[in-house]
Symmetry: C2
Subunit: 121 residues, 2 copies
């Protein structure tokens, strides 16, 4: 059901945890499955220097957040806002249709963390 | 959203893994979220001596499987078959309505492992 890349990010997820003194924090709850995702970002000179996530969600949510946080670290705020959910899924090499909503959790939590950062600055 | 008991079983789940030479193995995939659960059981003289689970599922699925496997270890096959999904949820102290389908994953995988054992014996 899942490809090797999804399984690898599920078994060894990158960027799990929280950032003390984060510059932005976003939480998103899925209306589909009820799972939650929290993402913290550290920003310097408009560039995302670090990102970490915590979730109660499933393996697909973990794999999506793992690649999505990898993708935005090093990007400017504007570049990170332009990352689409489709790009996250492509980076994972695809997800079963029934699991697309899990990747949306990562996408929305990132955007919400960026808006939190923007509001504070 | 989740009570302390659910969070505790999510953070420190019991009986995670696989049993080499299991007497019964059951796998169940949820039609709701697409997540999968695998449960192995070790049986001696009709009593479940050990049970272990593996899942790609969310925190609620992990917590449900953790308590459910705890509950069936030490029971006879007939007693384990009589354990209901409601008892699993009660043992957890409740789950949000949107997460009930996650506990069904544990319940169905256990029943499927028991049927696998019954078929072999
Ligand atoms: S099923 Fe809820 S995040 Fe995947």
């Amino acid at each position: 059901m899942y490809n090797d890349k999804v399984m690898d990010h599920f078994m060894n997820p990158h960027n799990v945890g929280e950032i003390q003194g984060a510059d932005g924090s976003g939480t998103y709850g899925s209306p589909v499955c009820g799972d939650m995702m929290k993402i913290d970002i550290k920003v310097e000179n408009d560039v995302i220097k670090d990102a970490k996530f915590k979730t109660f969600g499933c393996g697909s949510a973990i794999a999506s957040s793992s690649v999505a946080t990898d993708m935005i670290i090093g990007l400017t705020i504007d570049e990170a806002l332009a990352v689409t959910n489709k790009q996250i899924i492509d980076e994972l090499g695809g997800l079963p249709a029934i699991k697309i909503h899990c990747s949306v959790l990562a996408d929305h939590a990132i955007k919400s963390a960026i808006y939190d950062y923007a509001q504070k600055n």
